[in-house]
Symmetry: C2
Subunit: 397 residues, 2 copies
Amino acid sequence: MTPAFELEGETATTHHTNSANNGANDNQIGFKSRVSVIGSGSWGSVAAKLVAFNTLNLSSFHDEVKMWVFEETLQSGEKLTDAINRTNENIKYLPGIKLGKNVIADPDLDNAQEDVHFVYGHDVYIQLKMQTCWFLSPPHQFIDNICKSLVGKVRSDAEAISLIKGMEVKIEGPCLISTYISEQLGINCSVLMGANLANEIAEEKFSEATVGYRNNREIAEQWVQLFTTPYFMVTPVQDVEGVELCGTLKNVVAIAAGFVDGLDMGNNMKAAIIKFGLREMRDFCKLLFSSVKDDTFFESCGVADVITTCFGGRNRKVAEAFAKNGGKRSFDELEAEMLQGQKLQGVPTAREVYEVLRHWGLLELFPLFATVHEICSGCLPPSAIVIYSEKKPRLPV
Amino acid sequence: MTPAFELEGETATTHHTNSANNGANDNQIGFKSRVSVIGSGSWGSVAAKLVAFNTLNLSSFHDEVKMWVFEETLQSGEKLTDAINRTNENIKYLPGIKLGKNVIADPDLDNAQEDVHFVYGHDVYIQLKMQTCWFLSPPHQFIDNICKSLVGKVRSDAEAISLIKGMEVKIEGPCLISTYISEQLGINCSVLMGANLANEIAEEKFSEATVGYRNNREIAEQWVQLFTTPYFMVTPVQDVEGVELCGTLKNVVAIAAGFVDGLDMGNNMKAAIIKFGLREMRDFCKLLFSSVKDDTFFESCGVADVITTCFGGRNRKVAEAFAKNGGKRSFDELEAEMLQGQKLQGVPTAREVYEVLRHWGLLELFPLFATVHEICSGCLPPSAIVIYSEKKPRLPV
C-alpha cells in the first residue's frame, strides 16, 4: 500500500477500508476528493495545470494532483518523472510552463492501483465521485491495456472524464472511448473536448472547451468547476456522443485541410473543405447516435475546434507536408520527423471511420472522410481531395 | 433607345414592344435572355466573368454580358469603361484577369434605362425572367438611388439576384436588400452569397457559393446554371433571408476576428470568436425570420464564408490594423489608406445591427455584435473584445 495517495479528511479511513462501497459517506463535511491526471503529453500536462489551479481553491478537493507519466529516460540520463518533480515542468512535452507546485508526477500505474480509490492510465480523467479524480489522456491505443489493468479495482461510484480523441472499431460497430471506459470499469464517463491548442492554453491565452455529459448535470458542473480558469472557459452540453465524436472526427477534417494547404489551393477551398467536413461530422454522428444535437456543432467542440485544428494543429501540419511531397513520404515517416514522439490522430481515425462506413455500405455518403483515408493509405494522390469533372465540380469524388 | 441592348431571337420584337407583359412568350424557341451585371468592384467583375463564361455555352442566353461601371477617370486620363473595353480587364479593381470578350463595360445607367428590359445599379444581379438579367453589386448605400431611378421601368416578370452584403435599417425594423429591391421594383429577388474571395475566384481556384431563393426552384436552378463553372460550385437553398443575412453579418464577425489578430490573442481565441459570431448570426437571423433554417449555417454562405472572411477578407485586415493602433486611427482613415477605394462592410453593418438590437432592447443577448460596434465607434478599446472577470471569463462583456 502506497501512502502517497491517502485520502484527506474525516472519512478517509472509512473509505480506505471500504473501498468498494457506494460512496454514501462521501458527502460528510470535511471530505475531500482527489484528482489524478493520467497521461503526460502536452495536453495531459496542460490539463494537470488547469485542474491543479482549481484544486488549490476548491475546498471539496485535495490540493495535490497526481499526474501519471509514461516513464522515459531523457538524454541527460534523468528520468522524466524526476525531471518533472524537480523542475515542476514537463520539460519534454511542455517545456517552459510551470504546472503548479501541487502537480506530482508518478511513473507507476501499479502503485496507484494498490489504492483502489484512484487509477492512472493514458489520457482519461476519472473522478471517484466526490472523492478521487483521475485523468487518462492521449494515444487511445494505450487505453485498452490501462483499462484492463484497472478492472475490478474501481469503485462503482467513480466518475471519469475522457479527453481522448479516437474510437475503437469492433466487428459489431464503433465504440466510443468513453463507452469503453464505462463498460470496462463499470463507471460513468463524461468527455471534455474543444478548441484548445495545448501550447496556447499553457501560455494562458483565452481558450474554450465543452464538457459532454450523459444525464447528471451536477457531475457536469463539477467538471466545469475543475477545469475553468480565467483564461479557460468550459461549457457543459448534454450530448456526450456528439461532443466526443466531434473531438475525434475533427482530426480527419484537419488532414484534408492540410492537403489543401500543401497543394496551395487557397482560402476558399479550405473553407469549403471545413464546411464539408463539419457536415460529414454531423451526419456521421447522427448516423451513429440519433440523440446527437445540431446545437453541439455550434459549441467549442464543434465548429471552433474544427477551425483551430484545421489552421493550427499537428494533423494539418503533417498532412501539409505529406501533400507537398506528393504522398511519396509516408505519414509514419513524417510523424517521426516532425512531431518529436507525439502521435497523429487523424490518420488512424480516418481508417476507423472508413471501416465503419464500408461495413455499413455508406462510403458514398461521406466522400470527404472516404477520400482522406484513401489518400492517407496511398490509394489516391493528395490532389484527389478535389477532382473537377468537366462541368460540375464534385468535392471530393 | 440604345440599340446596344436589343434582344436576340425571334420574339425580340414582340418583347420590345410589349415590355410590360408577363413574359408568357419567353419560352418560345429561339428566345434568348440577356444578363447584365450592375457594379464593377472586384466581386462584380468576377461575377461578370463567371456569368459571361456560361452565357457563351447556354443557348437560352445572349452571349453578351453588360457590366455597368461607376465611371472614373484613371491616372492615365483614360476612362475606366474605356480601359475595361480596351483591355478586357478591370484594370483598377481586378487587374490581370481577363473578364471574357463578351463582357462589355457601360458607364451610363440612364442609357440602360431607356430599354425597360434591363437595369443597371450597384451590386445586384437582376434577371428579367427568361429574357434579361441584371446585376447590382457592392456598396449597398448606392442601391437606394439606383432602385429609385428604375421604379416603373421594370417588367413585372423580371428576376433579380442580389450579391449585396448589408441591410437597410428603418424605424419599423430592418429591411433586407433583396426585399428592398423586390418592393421597389415589384419583382422577385434571390441572393447569392458564399465563401468566395474575389481574387481567388478570379484566379480560378476552387470556390463555392449559395443561392438563396424564396419559392421557385426553377429560377434558383437557372441562377445556379449561370454562375457555376468548373471551379465555382453553387448550391441552391430555399432560405433567402438566412442566406442573405449570413453574407451581411459575417462581416461583423470578421471585424471581431481582426481585433483578435491585431491583439495577437491566438488561434483558440479566434476560433472562439468565430463560434460566438456564428451563433449570434444564427440567433439574429431567427429573431428576424422564424423561417430561417439551421442547415443554412452549414452551407457555403454560413460557416465557410465566416471562416474565409475571418482569415482572408478586407474587414479582418483593416480591423487588425485598427487594433494594432489601439483604436487611435479611425476605420475611415485606415480604409482610405489600405483599400484603394473599396469599402468596408462590417463597420456600417455592425452599426445597423446595433440599432436593430437597441431598438428591440436585445443588446444583452448579442454581446459580440454589440461589442464590435462599441469598439468601432470608439466607446470601447479593441481589447474589450474579451474581458475577463475574476473567476469566469465572459466573452465579450
